[in-house]
């Protein structure tokens, strides 16, 4: 049966490096759900957070070029990483509104800027395009009994009116998608708090404090694990967890999954293709305990 | 004022669909009359001159056989539903044959509470185009004989009619001669335009055919017929004619449905539709208004918006 939905796919640098398991689980999930995913040929970096702090024109031009490349591929542009999603959306927003910036960028990439192609995050594709009931039907191994604290981070819903993924202050899209797999999501207070992002290199102390608060809040809410949709948040929450336990004396052992990993697992993709091995906090005991593998 | 665009190759337009329409109109008219759904059907019947078509109001089902639809059916039959022709409305519930441009007039009239949608049965005709003024009725429909308005028609299919008859052939794309003429006039200096219109209006003999065929000129007493006060001189001298045509264009601004009947019937070939089209163009630019197929509650000049353009006001 031909893929009912087809998307061009912009993985972004982290998904070819530190966030490789996010990319693999995403491809596995989309294959299982028969959604076409065709990577944009020779895409390049979207500039993430550093670019637009250095030179806004550079960051807008990078994204505009990527959008132009994406036009060659049929289907809306699917994006996994929250930072790439935020940059591409901001470019469309800014160039759509500001005529002079648009002309500058068009001069920089010496091509017409095309803003028509919709940029969509995986969550949007799963929850709205594909639809929650179809997702629920596609689940072959329900994640019953797994208590998840869904973590949005900063970029998925901010600044208001730019990503237009969900309500800025009270999003529910991750809860809906996860609950479609039969898992249980816990209400907790730090869903949208910043994890410290890039400070993990320059000022690790800040990350320990902020990520520590998030882990504490998740633990207080009785979650078994955290689910993220951004490689940078995953990095902080997963890699730094050991250090935070040492610094605060708290015990967390809270595995941090990419949302596509759990969804793929629920949709019958074999666990060893989901990169559980490369996660610092070993998720295997939890998955075994919930007899999901 | 001939438009000097590049000479266009004469293309014949396939009007086979019109015969299909004629059959369907006849059967529908007969059905409507037999089942007493309507008391009279306003349609076209062939005239004495070969290929000619004239408006007809039939009440007896047997007459339905006379109804035709051909490129000679140029009249806008919506005028027979207005107060200007009370005696037709007096016949009771009417069915009317309507091309796309006619349906726009019907929608405009409904918007001006002249009749309600349920009071009239509309037999919409898919129309590929009709003859322009002065074309012998029996001539085929070609790019040379087609009316200027049909060259730029956007309502070939009259959506919103109770029944849509006929089928649309493949349409050649024709140069918009009227748009070119309008652009040519716009390009002129005010002095040249004044001379152009003065020459046209001097020739007007005030036969008022343009007023009598206009679906929106249904006033009981036209402003230009009034003596006390005499807003517009009634005698057909150039200044009176100028006043008459300015007032007419202003009264139709935002109401005219672009059926261009005024220009067709003018015995002195004055391009009257240019005036209405200019008004329509300005209203589109200023207030995004366009005459549509569905009645609009308020026209552009009977409504306003706080943020309307006022760049021309000091």
């Amino acid at each position: 049966m031909k893929n009912v939905l087809n998307y061009s796919y912009y993985p972004g640098c982290s998904l070819h490096a530190s966030g490789k398991e996010y990319d693999e689980s995403a491809r596995g999930l989309f294959k299982a759900l028969k959604i076409g995913l065709q990577e944009v040929p020779d895409w390049f970096c979207c500039g993430a957070t550093p670019a637009h702090n250095v030179d806004e024109l550079l960051s807008l031009a990078l994204c505009a070029k990527n959008l132009e490349l994406a036009d060659a591929v049929e289907g809306d542009l699917a994006v996994a990483c929250a930072a790439c999603f935020s940059r591409l959306k901001t470019t469309q927003h800014k160039l759509g509104e500001n005529e002079s910036k648009r002309k500058q960028v068009e001069q920089a990439i010496d091509a017409k800027v095309s803003l028509e192609k919709p940029v969509k995050h995986l969550l949007e594709i799963l929850a709205r395009d594909f639809g929650l009931e179809r997702l629920h039907k596609a689940v072959s191994k329900p994640l019953n009994g797994l208590k998840i604290a869904p973590y949005y981070g900063c970029l998925l819903t901010r600044p208001p009116d730019v990503p237009q993924l969900d309500c800025t202050e009270a999003p529910t899209i991750m809860e809906q998608v996860l609950e479609a797999t039969g898992a249980e999501t816990v209400p907790w207070s730090h869903r949208l708090e910043c994890c410290g992002a890039n400070f993990t290199l320059s000022r690790p102390g800040v990350v320990l404090k902020l990520t520590g608060d998030i882990l504490a809040s998740a633990k207080r809410a009785g979650a078994d694990c955290l689910v993220v949709a951004c490689p940078l948040c995953h990095g902080n929450l997963d890699i730094r967890q050991k250090e935070i336990e040492e610094a605060t004396g708290e015990e967390y052992h809270m595995p941090v999954f990419y949302i596509t990993q759990l969804l793929a697992l629920a949709c019958g993709v074999s666990p060893n293709k989901l990169g559980f091995g490369s996660m610092i906090v070993n998720p295997m005991p939890l998955l075994k305990e919930k007899n999901l593998i | 004022m001939k438009s000097t665009g590049k000479p266009e190759p004469t293309v014949t337009i396939d009007t086979s669909g019109y015969a299909v329409a004629t059959e369907e109109i006849r059967s529908e008219a007969k059905r409507l009359l037999l089942e007493k759904i309507v008391d009279a059907v306003v349609g076209y019947q062939s005239g004495r001159r070969k290929g000619s078509a004239v408006p007809v109001i039939i009440t007896d089902p047997a007459q339905a056989e006379q109804l035709v639809f051909s490129p000679a059916c140029v009249n806008n039959l919506s005028i027979y539903l207005t107060k200007a022709k009370k005696e037709i409305r007096a016949k009771g519930k009417l069915a009317v044959v309507a091309k796309g441009c006619d349906l726009r007039a019907l929608a405009g009239l409904m918007g001006e509470s002249q009749f309600k949608r349920e009071e009239v049965v509309i037999i919409g005709v898919t129309c590929a185009g009709v003859h322009s003024a002065g074309v012998q009725p029996n001539e085929p429909l070609t790019s040379a004989t087609i009316a200027k308005k049909c060259r730029e028609c956007s309502v070939h299919i009259p959506e919103g009619a109770d029944l849509i008859v006929g089928k649309l052939p493949l349409l050649p794309d024709l140069t918009p001669t009227e748009k070119e003429l309008l652009e040519k006039l716009d390009a002129m200096t005010p002095g040249e335009r004044w001379e152009y219109w003065k020459e046209q209006f001097t020739r007007c003999i005030r036969c008022l055919a343009c007023r009598q065929v206009c679906p929106f000129c249904y006033c009981e007493q036209c402003l230009c017929d009034r003596g006390r006060p005499q807003a517009v001189d009634t005698s057909p001298r150039p200044s009176g004619n100028m006043g008459w045509h300015i007032v007419r264009a202003m009264h139709l601004a935002g109401r005219c449905s672009g059926c261009a009947e005024c220009e067709r019937v003018c015995p002195m070939d004055i391009p009257l539709n240019l005036l209405n089209r200019k008004m329509a163009q300005e209203l589109k630019e200023l207030y995004q208004y366009e005459a549509g197929l569905t009645p609009q509650e308020k026209g552009p000049l009977t409504s306003y918006d706080e943020k309307d353009d006022q760049s021309f006001i000091k």
Partner: protein
């Protein structure tokens, strides 16, 4: 009309200095139709007017042109003089040869020529004037007050005390509105029940006031002086005549656990209830959604225990029609409910404050109910979650107000004052408690307001932190408030026991539908628009409808009461005369020529144009024409300029008059 008198005024020498008045008079005598022309030093003076009156009689004048100052100055004077002389006032016109001529030109020849032209224009105009009789509209001397809050009560009492009938309609079972919910009121801290209950009792006992509670406005027809109001009186299921207010039914009602909306769902009430103890009228209402009798037909206890047999389950809604001459709209306000994002409105919700999810985050009115002696807790400040006494309370100002990106850009005017009051009430009840207030600016402009605010800080030791709150979340049994203190430039986190949000003031739900029924305009927030922000603040543009209280914009109780009395005064001026006399400069439709395209109705901003059916003797509809209601038409003339066939004509500014003036060019 061919016997016109022209009177040229010197205006002392304001006119005669630059205009040769004799020459203008001489020129006037040459004009067709002018039988008498003279000039006089002070036409507006008493001798001047006597001269005019004598001339009218002596020369049997049929029209007058007074060439003097601006009509905006003395038109009334000379028209009264003409009337005194037996001439219809509208046959007298003024030619403005002072402000528009002598004062603004210095060349004597030019000024005289211009003055002559102006006089000639007005002579031609007056020849086309017609006699006009002032329009009289009967006035029903009965007022309708919509809304039984303090604004409605005050307006009702004022009008009723002046001897006029009043109909007061209130949507809730009892009057009192939001003020009845308050504990003590700023700046005097006197208890709202004590100062309001007597007024509420006055209303119910006042012989001139007909009170309809638990009722809504179904439809409004008619115009100033002649409104016909259809009121839907919802069924109370209790016969108000029989009920003595003993309250036995409320005690015996098995349903105890229904949250009481009046107490912001803190307290509970039975199915047959009175919103609050001092309710007026003191007759209970059966809440049909929660009453078992209406759900599954069982129970019926209240009917059994009711001595006078007042409980009647069969009671149905009823429609009452009242004829009134004026309407005062006093529908009040509601607090901006930030629990969720209102559908389809430009106002975005406040997910980040957790209001509605975290039980210990409440709004101002809930705090009032906590602090109120007749409230669910008898005045004890407790945490709704566990009933404990909060030791640290954080008050957050400007929640929704002054937040353009959240859709509400205005300041709600009263929150600074009532938050300061809350810190005081809290301090008086919990002596060792500590109040924190996150605020942007303190707006305390009223009489002894700022002193009240200073007292909250200096004597009651409330800690005011200048800065906004970014997030509130539950942490264990505490409520963490994350905000910034911009004076110190630091992020602040307070673990509080209770958080009170001073949410924005908005108009009542359904304010726009009521406005459409009344035909009055409202702004983008649904507050009702006054006719003129400075000079007509309590009137609507639509004649005969007046505004009072928060429905017109956020305001505190002193302003509301003064607006209510002002609106009452306006009503009383309307009722001071039996007939409402209006200038006859109104439009009239010539039904012979009107073709019923109703363009006039579409452009009339006053809804003065109605559709009129013309029927023959057998009643068959011939045609529909437009009809201008002289009582409502304000004479702008837009209809005539829009009507293609000029079938509608504005008396006083007819086409004939204007064309006659243009002919003199």
């Amino acid at each position: 009309m061919s016997r016109i008198g022209v009177f040229i005024c010197h205006c002392g020498e304001n006119i005669s200095r630059t205009v040769d008045v004799e020459q203008v008079a001489q020129a006037a005598r040459q004009m067709v139709g002018v039988t008498y022309a003279c000039d006089y030093k002070y036409m507006c003076s008493d001798p001047g007017q006597t001269l005019l009156k004598k001339a009218v009689a002596e020369h049997r004048l049929e029209g007058i042109v007074v060439a003097a100052c601006s009509p905006r100055m003395h038109e009334k004077t000379f028209r009264n003089a003409a009337q005194a002389a037996g001439l219809n006032p509208f046959l007298c016109e003024m030619a403005n040869i002072r402000e528009h001529c002598s004062w603004v030109h210095d060349d004597r020849v030019e000024a005289t020529a211009k003055a002559t032209d102006i006089v000639h224009m007005l002579v031609e105009r007056v020849r086309k004037n017609k006699k006009l009789i002032p329009i009289t509209v009967p006035v029903t001397k009965r007022a309708l007050i919509i809304g039984g809050g303090i604004a409605g009560i005050q307006a009702a009492l004022d009008i009723a005390d002046c001897g006029h009938q009043v109909v007061l309609v209130e949507r809730e079972p009892s009057i009192g509105g939001h003020m009845a919910m308050l504990s003590e009121t700023f700046p005097t801290l006197d208890c709202s029940q004590c100062i309001m209950t007597p007024r509420m009792v006055d209303v119910v006992n006042h012989p001139k006031i007909t009170l309809h509670t638990y009722s809504e406005i179904e439809s409004v027809d008619g115009y100033i002086g002649n409104f016909s109001i259809t009121i839907k009186k919802k069924a109370r299921s209790v016969d108000m005549a029989k009920c003595t207010g003993c309250g036995v039914c409320m005690e015996k009602c098995p349903q105890k656990k229904i949250p009481n909306e009046f107490d912001k769902n803190l307290g509970f009430r039975p199915a047959i209830y009175v919103p609050f103890p001092q309710a007026v009228p003191n007759t209970p209402v059966i809440d049909r959604e929660h009453c078992t009798k209406f759900i599954n037909g069982k129970c019926g206890v209240c009917q059994k225990v009711c001595g006078p047999g007042a409980v009647d389950y069969e009671q149905q809604d009823e429609l009452i029609v009242e004829q009134v001459g004026a309407i005062v709209v006093a529908t009040g306000f509601k607090l901006y409910d930030i629990t969720e994002k209102p559908k389809g409105s430009a106002i975005k919700g406040y997910g980040e404050f957790g209001h509605g999810k975290i039980p210990d985050v409440i709004d101002g009115l809930t705090f009032e109910r906590l602090a109120s002696a007749s409230g669910p807790t008898g005045g004890k400040i407790i945490r709704p979650s566990d009933g404990k006494e909060p030791k640290q309370v954080v008050f957050v100002q400007c929640v929704g107000s002054r937040a353009r990106e959240k859709g509400i850009s205005y300041c709600s005017k009263v929150c600074c004052m009532y938050t300061a009051k809350h810190t005081m009430l809290y301090k008086h009840k919990v002596h060792d408690g500590q109040a924190y207030v996150f605020f942007m600016d303190a707006r305390t402009p009223g009489k002894s307001y700022d002193e009240f605010w200073r007292r909250a800080i200096e004597e009651e030791e409330a800690v005011y932190i200048r800065g906004m709150v970014s997030r509130v979340y539950q942490k264990g049994d505490k409520v963490v408030v994350m905000g910034s203190d911009i004076a110190v430039g630091v992020q602040v986190e307070i673990e509080a026991d209770l958080v009170v949000l001073a949410t924005a003031i908005q108009p009542r739900d359904g304010a726009d539908t009521l406005a459409q029924k009344l035909g009055i305009s409202y702004d983008k927030y649904n507050f009702y628009s006054e006719a003129h922000a400075k000079l007509r603040p309590v009137e609507c543009a639509t004649a005969g409808i007046y505004l009072a209280g928060a429905c017109q914009g956020p305001k505190d109780i002193p302003d509301t009461v003064s607006q209510a009395s002002a609106a009452a005064a306006k009503v009383m001026t309307l009722f001071s005369k039996d007939q409402l006399e209006r200038e006859p400069i109104v439009a009239r439709v010539n039904e012979k020529f009107c073709v019923g395209c109703l363009a006039c109705k579409k452009v009339c901003a006053y809804g003065a144009v109605e559709e009129k059916e013309i029927r023959d003797r057998q009643g068959n509809l011939i045609r529909v024409v437009a009809y201008v209601n002289p009582g409502v038409c304000s004479g702008c003339g837009t209809c005539q300029a829009t009507c293609p066939s000029k079938s509608v004509e504005l008396d006083g500014y007819t086409d004939e008059q204007v064309m006659a003036m243009l002919e003199t060019l």
